[in-house]
Subunit: 317 residues, 2 copies
Amino acid sequence: MDKYVIGLDIGGTNMRGALLDGNEEQVDELKVPSQAHFGIERLVDNLIELVERIRGSKTIYGIGLGIPGIIDSAKGVITAAPNIAHVKDYPIRSVLNDRLGADINLVIENDANMVGLGEWRKGAGKEVDSMIMITIGTGLGGGLILDGELWSGAHGMGGEIGHMTINPEGPLCNCGSYGCLETYASAVAIRRMVAEALSDGSVATSLRDKVRDAGPADIPELVMEAALGGDEVALGIWQALGKALGIAIASLQNLLDVDMVVLGGGIANAWDFFIRTAEEEAALRGFSAPMEKLSIEKSVLGDDAGILGAGYLALKK
Amino acid sequence: MDKYVIGLDIGGTNMRGALLDGNEEQVDELKVPSQAHFGIERLVDNLIELVERIRGSKTIYGIGLGIPGIIDSAKGVITAAPNIAHVKDYPIRSVLNDRLGADINLVIENDANMVGLGEWRKGAGKEVDSMIMITIGTGLGGGLILDGELWSGAHGMGGEIGHMTINPEGPLCNCGSYGCLETYASAVAIRRMVAEALSDGSVATSLRDKVRDAGPADIPELVMEAALGGDEVALGIWQALGKALGIAIASLQNLLDVDMVVLGGGIANAWDFFIRTAEEEAALRGFSAPMEKLSIEKSVLGDDAGILGAGYLALKK
Protein backbone atom coordinates (compact mmCIF):
# COMPACT_ATOMS: atom_id res chain seq x y z
CA MET A 1 0.00 0.00 0.00
CA ASP A 2 1.62 3.30 -1.01
CA LYS A 3 -0.62 5.67 0.89
CA TYR A 4 1.64 7.91 2.98
CA VAL A 5 0.80 10.42 5.66
CA ILE A 6 2.80 12.78 7.86
CA GLY A 7 2.23 13.19 11.57
CA LEU A 8 3.49 16.49 12.99
CA ASP A 9 3.99 17.66 16.55
CA ILE A 10 4.56 21.40 16.88
CA GLY A 11 6.28 22.77 19.96
CA GLY A 12 7.55 26.21 20.88
CA THR A 13 11.17 25.11 20.38
CA ASN A 14 11.10 22.21 17.96
CA MET A 15 8.73 20.56 15.58
CA ARG A 16 8.85 16.88 14.76
CA GLY A 17 7.45 14.96 11.87
CA ALA A 18 6.98 11.27 11.11
CA LEU A 19 6.28 9.71 7.75
CA LEU A 20 3.87 6.79 8.10
CA ASP A 21 2.82 4.26 5.49
CA GLY A 22 -0.72 2.95 5.04
CA ASN A 23 -0.09 0.31 7.70
CA GLU A 24 0.68 2.98 10.29
CA GLU A 25 4.33 2.00 10.23
CA GLN A 26 6.80 4.82 10.69
CA VAL A 27 9.24 4.95 7.78
CA ASP A 28 11.02 8.23 8.52
CA GLU A 29 11.31 10.93 11.17
CA LEU A 30 12.69 14.46 11.27
CA LYS A 31 13.08 17.19 13.86
CA VAL A 32 13.75 20.88 13.14
CA PRO A 33 13.59 24.12 15.15
CA SER A 34 10.18 25.76 15.01
CA GLN A 35 11.52 29.30 15.59
CA ALA A 36 8.10 30.22 16.90
CA HIS A 37 9.51 33.36 18.54
CA PHE A 38 9.89 34.89 15.06
CA GLY A 39 6.14 34.67 14.59
CA ILE A 40 3.59 32.38 13.01
CA GLU A 41 4.76 33.04 9.42
CA ARG A 42 8.25 31.76 10.17
CA LEU A 43 6.79 28.76 11.98
CA VAL A 44 4.62 27.95 8.96
CA ASP A 45 7.63 28.34 6.62
CA ASN A 46 9.59 25.89 8.75
CA LEU A 47 6.65 23.53 8.85
CA ILE A 48 6.33 23.57 5.05
CA GLU A 49 10.04 22.90 4.71
CA LEU A 50 9.79 20.00 7.15
CA VAL A 51 6.92 18.50 5.15
CA GLU A 52 8.79 18.92 1.85
CA ARG A 53 11.91 17.28 3.25
CA ILE A 54 10.18 14.37 4.89
CA ARG A 55 7.92 13.51 1.98
CA GLY A 56 10.69 13.63 -0.60
CA SER A 57 9.20 12.34 -3.84
CA LYS A 58 6.34 10.49 -2.19
CA THR A 59 2.72 11.48 -2.68
CA ILE A 60 1.15 12.46 0.62
CA TYR A 61 -2.46 11.58 1.34
CA GLY A 62 -2.83 13.55 4.52
CA ILE A 63 -1.14 15.43 7.33
CA GLY A 64 -2.03 15.35 11.00
CA LEU A 65 -0.94 18.31 13.05
CA GLY A 66 -0.76 18.51 16.83
CA ILE A 67 -0.53 22.04 18.22
CA PRO A 68 -0.39 23.14 21.86
CA GLY A 69 -3.33 25.47 22.36
CA ILE A 70 -7.06 25.83 21.90
CA ILE A 71 -7.77 24.42 18.47
CA ASP A 72 -11.06 24.59 16.61
CA SER A 73 -10.43 21.34 14.81
CA ALA A 74 -13.77 21.42 12.99
CA LYS A 75 -12.79 24.69 11.31
CA GLY A 76 -9.04 23.99 11.19
CA VAL A 77 -8.31 27.15 13.12
CA ILE A 78 -5.88 27.92 15.95
CA THR A 79 -8.14 29.78 18.38
CA ALA A 80 -5.26 30.57 20.73
CA ALA A 81 -1.79 29.07 21.22
CA PRO A 82 0.13 31.31 23.64
CA ASN A 83 3.00 28.83 23.95
CA ILE A 84 3.91 28.94 20.26
CA ALA A 85 2.68 32.26 18.88
CA HIS A 86 0.37 35.08 19.79
CA VAL A 87 -2.23 34.39 17.17
CA LYS A 88 -5.98 34.49 17.46
CA ASP A 89 -8.25 32.53 15.13
CA TYR A 90 -5.39 31.71 12.75
CA PRO A 91 -6.71 29.60 9.84
CA ILE A 92 -3.81 27.14 9.81
CA ARG A 93 -5.59 24.53 7.70
CA SER A 94 -6.42 26.84 4.82
CA VAL A 95 -2.93 28.41 4.97
CA LEU A 96 -1.36 24.96 4.67
CA ASN A 97 -3.75 23.80 1.98
CA ASP A 98 -2.89 26.91 -0.05
CA ARG A 99 0.81 26.16 0.17
CA LEU A 100 0.86 22.36 0.05
CA GLY A 101 -2.07 21.69 -2.22
CA ALA A 102 -5.82 21.59 -1.67
CA ASP A 103 -5.90 17.82 -2.19
CA ILE A 104 -3.96 17.06 1.01
CA ASN A 105 -6.22 16.03 3.82
CA LEU A 106 -5.28 18.14 6.86
CA VAL A 107 -6.41 17.33 10.39
CA ILE A 108 -5.54 19.65 13.24
CA GLU A 109 -5.91 18.86 16.92
CA ASN A 110 -4.56 20.01 20.24
CA ASP A 111 -1.23 18.21 20.77
CA ALA A 112 -2.40 16.37 23.88
CA ASN A 113 -5.22 14.81 21.87
CA MET A 114 -2.67 13.51 19.35
CA VAL A 115 -0.58 12.09 22.19
CA GLY A 116 -3.69 10.31 23.47
CA LEU A 117 -4.41 8.86 20.03
CA GLY A 118 -0.83 7.67 19.63
CA GLU A 119 -0.67 6.07 23.06
CA TRP A 120 -4.02 4.36 22.43
CA ARG A 121 -3.11 3.16 18.95
CA LYS A 122 0.48 2.06 19.51
CA GLY A 123 1.30 2.39 23.19
CA ALA A 124 -0.04 1.56 26.64
CA GLY A 125 -3.67 1.62 25.49
CA LYS A 126 -3.47 -0.51 22.39
CA GLU A 127 -5.54 -3.35 23.87
CA VAL A 128 -8.43 -1.17 25.10
CA ASP A 129 -11.28 0.70 23.44
CA SER A 130 -11.64 3.65 25.80
CA MET A 131 -8.77 5.53 27.35
CA ILE A 132 -7.95 8.85 28.97
CA MET A 133 -4.51 10.30 28.32
CA ILE A 134 -3.07 12.69 30.89
CA THR A 135 0.15 14.40 29.81
CA ILE A 136 1.96 16.10 32.68
CA GLY A 137 4.64 18.53 31.56
CA THR A 138 4.93 22.28 32.03
CA GLY A 139 1.14 22.24 32.08
CA LEU A 140 -1.27 19.34 32.04
CA GLY A 141 -2.96 18.18 28.86
CA GLY A 142 -5.55 15.54 28.17
CA GLY A 143 -6.97 13.40 25.41
CA LEU A 144 -10.14 11.31 25.45
CA ILE A 145 -10.50 8.14 23.38
CA LEU A 146 -14.07 6.87 23.71
CA ASP A 147 -14.87 3.55 22.06
CA GLY A 148 -12.06 3.91 19.55
CA GLU A 149 -12.70 7.51 18.63
CA LEU A 150 -10.96 10.68 19.72
CA TRP A 151 -13.48 12.91 21.48
CA SER A 152 -12.05 16.40 21.22
CA GLY A 153 -15.41 18.09 21.56
CA ALA A 154 -18.17 19.45 19.37
CA HIS A 155 -15.78 22.23 18.29
CA GLY A 156 -12.47 20.44 18.87
CA MET A 157 -11.71 22.35 22.06
CA GLY A 158 -12.28 19.62 24.64
CA GLY A 159 -9.97 17.28 26.50
CA GLU A 160 -8.70 20.03 28.80
CA ILE A 161 -8.30 17.79 31.83
CA GLY A 162 -5.77 20.22 33.27
CA HIS A 163 -8.51 22.78 33.64
CA MET A 164 -11.03 20.80 35.60
CA THR A 165 -11.48 22.43 39.00
CA ILE A 166 -9.95 20.29 41.74
CA ASN A 167 -10.35 22.83 44.53
CA PRO A 168 -12.39 25.99 43.95
CA GLU A 169 -10.30 27.91 46.49
CA GLY A 170 -7.01 26.65 45.06
CA PRO A 171 -4.13 28.55 43.45
CA LEU A 172 -4.67 30.96 40.57
CA CYS A 173 -4.18 29.11 37.27
CA ASN A 174 -2.61 30.46 34.07
CA CYS A 175 -6.08 30.12 32.53
CA GLY A 176 -7.54 32.68 34.94
CA SER A 177 -9.49 30.18 37.05
CA TYR A 178 -8.56 28.84 40.49
CA GLY A 179 -7.58 25.39 41.65
CA CYS A 180 -7.45 23.71 38.24
CA LEU A 181 -5.77 20.29 38.18
CA GLU A 182 -2.83 21.95 36.41
CA THR A 183 -2.18 24.09 39.51
CA TYR A 184 -1.53 20.86 41.46
CA ALA A 185 -0.07 18.51 38.86
CA SER A 186 2.43 20.06 36.45
CA ALA A 187 5.95 21.51 36.44
CA VAL A 188 4.37 24.87 37.21
CA ALA A 189 2.64 23.33 40.24
CA ILE A 190 5.86 21.74 41.47
CA ARG A 191 7.69 25.06 41.26
CA ARG A 192 4.88 26.68 43.25
CA MET A 193 4.99 23.97 45.91
CA VAL A 194 8.78 24.23 46.20
CA ALA A 195 8.60 28.00 46.58
CA GLU A 196 5.88 27.68 49.22
CA ALA A 197 7.88 25.10 51.18
CA LEU A 198 11.08 27.17 51.09
CA SER A 199 9.31 30.38 52.07
CA ASP A 200 9.27 29.01 55.61
CA GLY A 201 12.94 29.38 56.52
CA SER A 202 12.61 26.94 59.42
CA VAL A 203 11.78 23.97 57.17
CA ALA A 204 14.78 21.65 56.81
CA THR A 205 15.01 20.27 53.31
CA SER A 206 17.75 19.36 50.88
CA LEU A 207 15.77 21.28 48.26
CA ARG A 208 16.99 24.58 49.67
CA ASP A 209 20.53 24.02 48.41
CA LYS A 210 19.57 22.07 45.33
CA VAL A 211 17.33 24.71 43.79
CA ARG A 212 19.35 27.80 44.75
CA ASP A 213 21.06 28.21 41.39
CA ALA A 214 18.71 26.09 39.31
CA GLY A 215 16.67 27.33 36.39
CA PRO A 216 12.87 26.87 36.57
CA ALA A 217 12.98 24.03 34.04
CA ASP A 218 15.28 21.98 36.28
CA ILE A 219 13.14 22.13 39.42
CA PRO A 220 11.01 18.99 38.86
CA GLU A 221 14.12 16.88 38.25
CA LEU A 222 15.67 18.22 41.45
CA VAL A 223 12.52 17.41 43.42
CA MET A 224 12.78 13.85 42.06
CA GLU A 225 16.41 13.67 43.20
CA ALA A 226 15.51 14.98 46.63
CA ALA A 227 12.66 12.47 46.94
CA LEU A 228 15.04 9.66 45.97
CA GLY A 229 17.23 10.84 48.83
CA GLY A 230 14.30 10.57 51.22
CA ASP A 231 13.67 14.32 51.62
CA GLU A 232 10.30 14.68 53.38
CA VAL A 233 9.38 17.98 51.72
CA ALA A 234 10.08 16.55 48.27
CA LEU A 235 8.13 13.38 49.05
CA GLY A 236 5.25 15.55 50.27
CA ILE A 237 5.22 17.50 47.00
CA TRP A 238 4.87 14.30 44.96
CA GLN A 239 2.12 13.10 47.28
CA ALA A 240 0.22 16.37 46.85
CA LEU A 241 0.53 15.93 43.10
CA GLY A 242 -0.65 12.32 43.39
CA LYS A 243 -3.62 13.29 45.52
CA ALA A 244 -4.77 15.88 42.99
CA LEU A 245 -4.40 13.37 40.17
CA GLY A 246 -6.41 10.85 42.19
CA ILE A 247 -9.24 13.34 42.72
CA ALA A 248 -9.31 14.06 39.00
CA ILE A 249 -9.14 10.40 37.99
CA ALA A 250 -12.10 9.54 40.25
CA SER A 251 -14.19 12.38 38.78
CA LEU A 252 -13.19 11.35 35.25
CA GLN A 253 -13.99 7.69 35.81
CA ASN A 254 -17.36 8.43 37.46
CA LEU A 255 -18.11 10.61 34.45
CA LEU A 256 -16.62 8.69 31.53
CA ASP A 257 -16.13 5.08 32.71
CA VAL A 258 -13.17 4.12 30.53
CA ASP A 259 -10.85 1.09 30.54
CA MET A 260 -7.56 2.85 31.17
CA VAL A 261 -5.93 6.09 32.23
CA VAL A 262 -2.45 6.62 30.80
CA LEU A 263 -0.09 9.11 32.43
CA GLY A 264 2.70 10.58 30.35
CA GLY A 265 4.90 13.65 29.99
CA GLY A 266 8.16 14.43 31.78
CA ILE A 267 6.61 14.70 35.23
CA ALA A 268 5.22 11.16 34.96
CA ASN A 269 8.82 9.97 35.34
CA ALA A 270 8.39 10.60 39.06
CA TRP A 271 5.88 7.71 38.88
CA ASP A 272 7.08 5.82 41.98
CA PHE A 273 6.70 8.90 44.13
CA PHE A 274 3.08 9.75 43.32
CA ILE A 275 1.28 6.78 41.82
CA ARG A 276 0.33 5.02 45.05
CA THR A 277 -1.19 8.21 46.50
CA ALA A 278 -3.03 8.81 43.22
CA GLU A 279 -4.45 5.29 43.13
CA GLU A 280 -5.50 5.39 46.78
CA GLU A 281 -7.21 8.77 46.43
CA ALA A 282 -9.01 7.68 43.26
CA ALA A 283 -10.20 4.45 44.90
CA LEU A 284 -11.46 6.40 47.91
CA ARG A 285 -13.47 8.81 45.78
CA GLY A 286 -14.62 6.90 42.71
CA PHE A 287 -17.54 4.47 42.55
CA SER A 288 -16.11 1.03 43.19
CA ALA A 289 -17.72 -0.67 40.17
CA PRO A 290 -16.17 1.53 37.44
CA MET A 291 -12.93 1.96 39.44
CA GLU A 292 -12.47 -1.82 39.45
CA LYS A 293 -12.66 -1.78 35.65
CA LEU A 294 -9.96 0.88 35.39
CA SER A 295 -6.22 0.43 35.10
CA ILE A 296 -3.80 3.31 35.48
CA GLU A 297 -0.69 2.92 33.32
CA LYS A 298 2.43 4.82 32.43
CA SER A 299 2.96 6.02 28.87
CA VAL A 300 5.26 3.76 26.85
CA LEU A 301 5.82 5.89 23.73
CA GLY A 302 7.12 9.10 25.33
CA ASP A 303 7.78 11.81 22.76
CA ASP A 304 6.76 9.59 19.85
CA ALA A 305 3.11 9.40 20.88
CA GLY A 306 2.17 12.78 19.37
CA ILE A 307 3.56 12.19 15.88
CA LEU A 308 2.17 8.65 15.73
CA GLY A 309 -1.27 9.83 16.85
CA ALA A 310 -1.23 12.68 14.32
CA GLY A 311 -0.23 10.28 11.56
CA TYR A 312 -2.96 7.82 12.54
CA LEU A 313 -5.62 10.53 12.50
CA ALA A 314 -4.47 11.69 9.06
CA LEU A 315 -4.69 8.13 7.74
CA LYS A 316 -8.11 7.59 9.25
CA LYS A 317 -9.81 10.77 8.08
CA MET B 1 -44.44 1.54 9.92
CA ASP B 2 -45.65 -0.88 12.56
CA LYS B 3 -42.46 -1.26 14.56
CA TYR B 4 -43.36 -0.55 18.19
CA VAL B 5 -41.13 -0.13 21.22
CA ILE B 6 -41.71 0.54 24.91
CA GLY B 7 -39.76 3.07 26.93
CA LEU B 8 -39.77 2.43 30.67
CA ASP B 9 -38.72 4.58 33.59
CA ILE B 10 -38.40 2.71 36.88
CA GLY B 11 -38.60 4.59 40.14
CA GLY B 12 -38.75 3.49 43.75
CA THR B 13 -42.44 4.44 43.96
CA ASN B 14 -43.80 4.31 40.44
CA MET B 15 -42.83 2.99 37.07
CA ARG B 16 -43.96 4.58 33.84
CA GLY B 17 -44.08 3.21 30.35
CA ALA B 18 -44.62 4.76 26.93
CA LEU B 19 -45.51 2.94 23.74
CA LEU B 20 -43.72 4.52 20.76
CA ASP B 21 -44.21 3.80 17.08
CA GLY B 22 -41.39 3.59 14.54
CA ASN B 23 -41.48 7.36 14.07
CA GLU B 24 -40.73 7.91 17.75
CA GLU B 25 -44.27 9.13 18.31
CA GLN B 26 -45.81 8.27 21.65
CA VAL B 27 -49.08 6.38 21.14
CA ASP B 28 -49.82 5.34 24.71
CA GLU B 29 -48.61 5.83 28.28
CA LEU B 30 -49.15 4.04 31.58
CA LYS B 31 -48.05 4.50 35.16
CA VAL B 32 -48.24 1.85 37.90
CA PRO B 33 -46.74 1.43 41.39
CA SER B 34 -43.37 -0.32 41.34
CA GLN B 35 -43.74 -1.73 44.89
CA ALA B 36 -39.97 -1.92 45.04
CA HIS B 37 -40.08 -2.26 48.83
CA PHE B 38 -41.41 -5.81 48.37
CA GLY B 39 -38.17 -6.72 46.59
CA ILE B 40 -36.87 -7.08 43.07
CA GLU B 41 -39.12 -10.05 42.17
CA ARG B 42 -42.27 -8.04 42.83
CA LEU B 43 -40.84 -5.11 40.89
CA VAL B 44 -40.12 -7.39 37.93
CA ASP B 45 -43.65 -8.87 38.13
CA ASN B 46 -45.12 -5.37 38.05
CA LEU B 47 -42.85 -4.43 35.18
CA ILE B 48 -43.91 -7.46 33.14
CA GLU B 49 -47.57 -6.64 33.81
CA LEU B 50 -46.99 -3.02 32.71
CA VAL B 51 -45.38 -4.23 29.49
CA GLU B 52 -48.22 -6.69 28.79
CA ARG B 53 -50.87 -4.04 29.38
CA ILE B 54 -49.23 -1.35 27.32
CA ARG B 55 -48.38 -3.51 24.33
CA GLY B 56 -51.86 -5.07 24.12
CA SER B 57 -51.91 -7.09 20.90
CA LYS B 58 -49.04 -5.22 19.27
CA THR B 59 -45.73 -6.87 18.47
CA ILE B 60 -42.93 -5.20 20.35
CA TYR B 61 -39.54 -4.80 18.71
CA GLY B 62 -37.67 -3.58 21.74
CA ILE B 63 -37.82 -2.22 25.25
CA GLY B 64 -35.67 0.52 26.75
CA LEU B 65 -35.36 0.54 30.50
CA GLY B 66 -34.11 3.40 32.67
CA ILE B 67 -33.16 2.39 36.21
CA PRO B 68 -31.75 4.59 38.97
CA GLY B 69 -28.44 3.03 39.96
CA ILE B 70 -25.15 1.74 38.65
CA ILE B 71 -26.02 -0.20 35.54
CA ASP B 72 -23.66 -2.37 33.52
CA SER B 73 -25.51 -1.71 30.31
CA ALA B 74 -23.11 -3.79 28.21
CA LYS B 75 -24.00 -6.87 30.25
CA GLY B 76 -27.60 -5.83 31.01
CA VAL B 77 -26.97 -6.11 34.72
CA ILE B 78 -28.00 -3.91 37.67
CA THR B 79 -24.69 -3.57 39.52
CA ALA B 80 -26.34 -1.67 42.39
CA ALA B 81 -29.59 0.26 42.74
CA PRO B 82 -30.03 1.17 46.42
CA ASN B 83 -33.00 3.43 45.71
CA ILE B 84 -35.16 0.67 44.24
CA ALA B 85 -33.91 -2.62 45.66
CA HIS B 86 -30.95 -4.04 47.49
CA VAL B 87 -29.67 -6.15 44.66
CA LYS B 88 -26.11 -6.69 43.51
CA ASP B 89 -25.27 -7.76 39.97
CA TYR B 90 -28.89 -8.59 39.16
CA PRO B 91 -29.16 -9.82 35.52
CA ILE B 92 -32.26 -7.81 34.66
CA ARG B 93 -31.91 -8.22 30.90
CA SER B 94 -31.78 -12.00 30.91
CA VAL B 95 -34.60 -12.18 33.49
CA LEU B 96 -36.79 -10.04 31.23
CA ASN B 97 -35.81 -11.87 28.07
CA ASP B 98 -36.74 -15.16 29.77
CA ARG B 99 -40.18 -13.85 30.66
CA LEU B 100 -40.99 -11.65 27.66
CA GLY B 101 -39.28 -13.57 24.89
CA ALA B 102 -35.70 -13.78 23.72
CA ASP B 103 -36.53 -11.94 20.48
CA ILE B 104 -37.27 -8.63 22.27
CA ASN B 105 -34.34 -6.25 22.07
CA LEU B 106 -33.71 -4.99 25.61
CA VAL B 107 -31.54 -1.98 26.37
CA ILE B 108 -30.85 -0.99 29.97
CA GLU B 109 -29.31 2.27 31.10
CA ASN B 110 -29.13 4.42 34.18
CA ASP B 111 -32.30 6.53 34.28
CA ALA B 112 -30.44 9.85 34.01
CA ASN B 113 -28.90 8.68 30.73
CA MET B 114 -32.39 7.98 29.37
CA VAL B 115 -33.53 11.44 30.48
CA GLY B 116 -30.56 12.92 28.61
CA LEU B 117 -31.42 10.98 25.47
CA GLY B 118 -35.06 12.05 25.64
CA GLU B 119 -34.26 15.70 26.21
CA TRP B 120 -31.77 15.61 23.34
CA ARG B 121 -34.08 13.80 20.95
CA LYS B 122 -37.36 15.58 21.70
CA GLY B 123 -36.70 18.40 24.12
CA ALA B 124 -34.38 21.32 24.77
CA GLY B 125 -31.48 19.71 22.91
CA LYS B 126 -33.19 18.62 19.74
CA GLU B 127 -31.28 21.08 17.54
CA VAL B 128 -27.80 20.19 18.81
CA ASP B 129 -25.44 17.24 18.36
CA SER B 130 -23.70 17.24 21.74
CA MET B 131 -25.40 17.85 25.04
CA ILE B 132 -24.93 17.27 28.74
CA MET B 133 -28.02 16.54 30.80
CA ILE B 134 -27.95 17.37 34.50
CA THR B 135 -30.96 16.10 36.46
CA ILE B 136 -31.25 17.65 39.90
CA GLY B 137 -33.64 15.83 42.19
CA THR B 138 -33.04 14.00 45.46
CA GLY B 139 -29.57 13.34 44.06
CA LEU B 140 -27.93 14.62 40.91
CA GLY B 141 -27.77 12.51 37.76
CA GLY B 142 -26.17 13.08 34.40
CA GLY B 143 -26.29 11.95 30.81
CA LEU B 144 -23.77 12.65 28.06
CA ILE B 145 -24.78 12.87 24.40
CA LEU B 146 -21.65 13.22 22.27
CA ASP B 147 -22.14 13.78 18.56
CA GLY B 148 -25.56 12.16 18.57
CA GLU B 149 -24.64 9.14 20.67
CA LEU B 150 -25.23 8.42 24.33
CA TRP B 151 -21.87 7.96 26.04
CA SER B 152 -22.61 5.93 29.15
CA GLY B 153 -19.11 4.55 29.42
CA ALA B 154 -17.13 1.53 28.32
CA HIS B 155 -19.19 -0.54 30.79
CA GLY B 156 -22.33 1.60 30.93
CA MET B 157 -21.50 3.08 34.32
CA GLY B 158 -20.55 6.62 33.31
CA GLY B 159 -22.41 9.90 33.29
CA GLU B 160 -22.22 10.28 37.07
CA ILE B 161 -21.88 14.06 37.03
CA GLY B 162 -23.21 14.19 40.59
CA HIS B 163 -20.09 12.42 41.77
CA MET B 164 -17.45 14.65 40.31
CA THR B 165 -15.51 16.23 43.15
CA ILE B 166 -16.29 19.94 43.45
CA ASN B 167 -14.44 20.52 46.71
CA PRO B 168 -12.19 17.77 48.10
CA GLU B 169 -12.81 18.98 51.68
CA GLY B 170 -16.56 19.26 51.17
CA PRO B 171 -19.44 17.40 52.88
CA LEU B 172 -19.55 13.61 53.07
CA CYS B 173 -21.53 12.26 50.12
CA ASN B 174 -23.88 9.26 50.10
CA CYS B 175 -21.36 7.60 47.78
CA GLY B 176 -18.66 7.67 50.47
CA SER B 177 -16.57 10.45 48.91
CA TYR B 178 -16.43 14.10 49.98
CA GLY B 179 -17.53 17.25 48.24
CA CYS B 180 -19.21 15.64 45.22
CA LEU B 181 -21.41 17.96 43.15
CA GLU B 182 -24.42 16.14 44.62
CA THR B 183 -23.47 17.39 48.10
CA TYR B 184 -23.96 20.95 46.82
CA ALA B 185 -26.68 20.63 44.20
CA SER B 186 -29.56 18.28 45.08
CA ALA B 187 -32.50 18.08 47.49
CA VAL B 188 -30.14 16.36 49.92
CA ALA B 189 -27.75 19.32 49.64
CA ILE B 190 -30.53 21.83 50.22
CA ARG B 191 -31.65 20.02 53.36
CA ARG B 192 -28.06 20.07 54.61
CA MET B 193 -27.70 23.79 53.90
CA VAL B 194 -31.00 24.57 55.63
CA ALA B 195 -29.99 22.57 58.71
CA GLU B 196 -26.62 24.30 58.82
CA ALA B 197 -28.20 27.75 58.54
CA LEU B 198 -30.76 27.04 61.26
CA SER B 199 -28.18 25.56 63.63
CA ASP B 200 -27.10 29.13 64.36
CA GLY B 201 -30.05 30.31 66.43
CA SER B 202 -29.14 33.97 65.90
CA VAL B 203 -29.76 33.83 62.15
CA ALA B 204 -33.04 35.50 61.24
CA THR B 205 -34.81 33.64 58.46
CA SER B 206 -38.38 32.83 57.53
CA LEU B 207 -37.16 29.25 56.95
CA ARG B 208 -37.14 28.60 60.70
CA ASP B 209 -40.93 28.61 60.89
CA LYS B 210 -41.53 27.22 57.44
CA VAL B 211 -39.57 24.00 57.88
CA ARG B 212 -40.48 23.27 61.53
CA ASP B 213 -43.19 20.73 60.75
CA ALA B 214 -42.21 19.95 57.18
CA GLY B 215 -41.19 16.54 55.88
CA PRO B 216 -37.78 16.25 54.23
CA ALA B 217 -39.34 16.02 50.77
CA ASP B 218 -40.98 19.42 51.19
CA ILE B 219 -37.86 21.37 52.11
CA PRO B 220 -36.69 22.43 48.61
CA GLU B 221 -40.15 23.79 47.79
CA LEU B 222 -40.14 25.77 51.05
CA VAL B 223 -36.70 27.20 50.27
CA MET B 224 -38.10 28.32 46.91
CA GLU B 225 -41.03 29.99 48.67
CA ALA B 226 -38.72 31.72 51.12
CA ALA B 227 -36.48 32.92 48.28
CA LEU B 228 -39.54 34.30 46.48
CA GLY B 229 -40.27 36.24 49.66
CA GLY B 230 -36.76 37.71 49.60
CA ASP B 231 -35.34 35.65 52.48
CA GLU B 232 -31.56 36.17 52.45
CA VAL B 233 -30.71 32.72 53.81
CA ALA B 234 -32.87 31.03 51.20
CA LEU B 235 -31.40 33.18 48.43
CA GLY B 236 -27.92 32.28 49.68
CA ILE B 237 -28.71 28.57 49.50
CA TRP B 238 -29.74 28.84 45.85
CA GLN B 239 -26.62 30.84 45.11
CA ALA B 240 -24.43 28.19 46.73
CA LEU B 241 -26.17 25.59 44.58
CA GLY B 242 -25.67 27.76 41.50
CA LYS B 243 -22.01 28.28 42.26
CA ALA B 244 -21.39 24.53 42.56
CA LEU B 245 -23.23 23.93 39.29
CA GLY B 246 -21.13 26.63 37.64
CA ILE B 247 -17.89 25.02 38.81
CA ALA B 248 -19.04 21.67 37.44
CA ILE B 249 -20.26 23.12 34.13
CA ALA B 250 -16.90 24.84 33.54
CA SER B 251 -15.00 21.61 34.23
CA LEU B 252 -17.38 19.67 32.00
CA GLN B 253 -17.14 22.16 29.15
CA ASN B 254 -13.33 22.36 29.34
CA LEU B 255 -13.32 18.58 29.21
CA LEU B 256 -16.12 17.73 26.77
CA ASP B 257 -16.82 20.91 24.74
CA VAL B 258 -20.50 20.35 23.97
CA ASP B 259 -23.17 22.60 22.46
CA MET B 260 -25.60 22.65 25.36
CA VAL B 261 -26.09 21.83 29.01
CA VAL B 262 -29.71 21.05 29.96
CA LEU B 263 -30.78 21.27 33.59
CA GLY B 264 -33.82 19.29 34.69
CA GLY B 265 -35.37 17.58 37.70
CA GLY B 266 -37.55 19.12 40.40
CA ILE B 267 -34.81 21.35 41.80
CA ALA B 268 -34.32 22.99 38.41
CA ASN B 269 -37.68 24.69 39.00
CA ALA B 270 -35.82 27.13 41.23
CA TRP B 271 -34.13 28.26 37.98
CA ASP B 272 -34.45 32.01 38.53
CA PHE B 273 -32.75 31.77 41.91
CA PHE B 274 -29.58 29.95 40.83
CA ILE B 275 -29.03 30.23 37.08
CA ARG B 276 -27.32 33.61 37.03
CA THR B 277 -24.81 32.56 39.69
CA ALA B 278 -24.22 29.29 37.82
CA GLU B 279 -23.61 31.07 34.52
CA GLU B 280 -21.30 33.65 36.08
CA GLU B 281 -19.24 31.03 37.91
CA ALA B 282 -18.97 28.88 34.76
CA ALA B 283 -17.89 31.87 32.67
CA LEU B 284 -15.29 32.80 35.27
CA ARG B 285 -13.75 29.32 35.31
CA GLY B 286 -14.19 27.86 31.85
CA PHE B 287 -12.05 28.66 28.80
CA SER B 288 -13.77 31.48 26.98
CA ALA B 289 -13.73 29.86 23.52
CA PRO B 290 -15.73 26.71 24.39
CA MET B 291 -17.87 28.62 26.94
CA GLU B 292 -18.99 30.99 24.18
CA LYS B 293 -20.19 27.97 22.20
CA LEU B 294 -22.25 26.67 25.12
CA SER B 295 -25.85 27.41 25.97
CA ILE B 296 -27.39 26.43 29.30
CA GLU B 297 -31.07 25.57 29.02
CA LYS B 298 -33.89 24.32 31.18
CA SER B 299 -35.45 20.93 30.49
CA VAL B 300 -38.71 21.14 28.55
CA LEU B 301 -39.95 17.54 28.81
CA GLY B 302 -39.96 17.11 32.58
CA ASP B 303 -40.98 13.60 33.60
CA ASP B 304 -41.55 12.49 30.01
CA ALA B 305 -37.87 12.74 29.07
CA GLY B 306 -36.94 9.35 30.58
CA ILE B 307 -39.57 7.25 28.83
CA LEU B 308 -39.05 9.00 25.50
CA GLY B 309 -35.29 8.51 25.74
CA ALA B 310 -35.70 4.85 26.67
CA GLY B 311 -38.06 4.33 23.76
CA TYR B 312 -35.69 6.06 21.36
CA LEU B 313 -32.76 3.90 22.47
CA ALA B 314 -34.84 0.74 22.02
CA LEU B 315 -35.80 1.82 18.49
CA LYS B 316 -32.24 2.68 17.62
CA LYS B 317 -30.51 -0.46 18.87
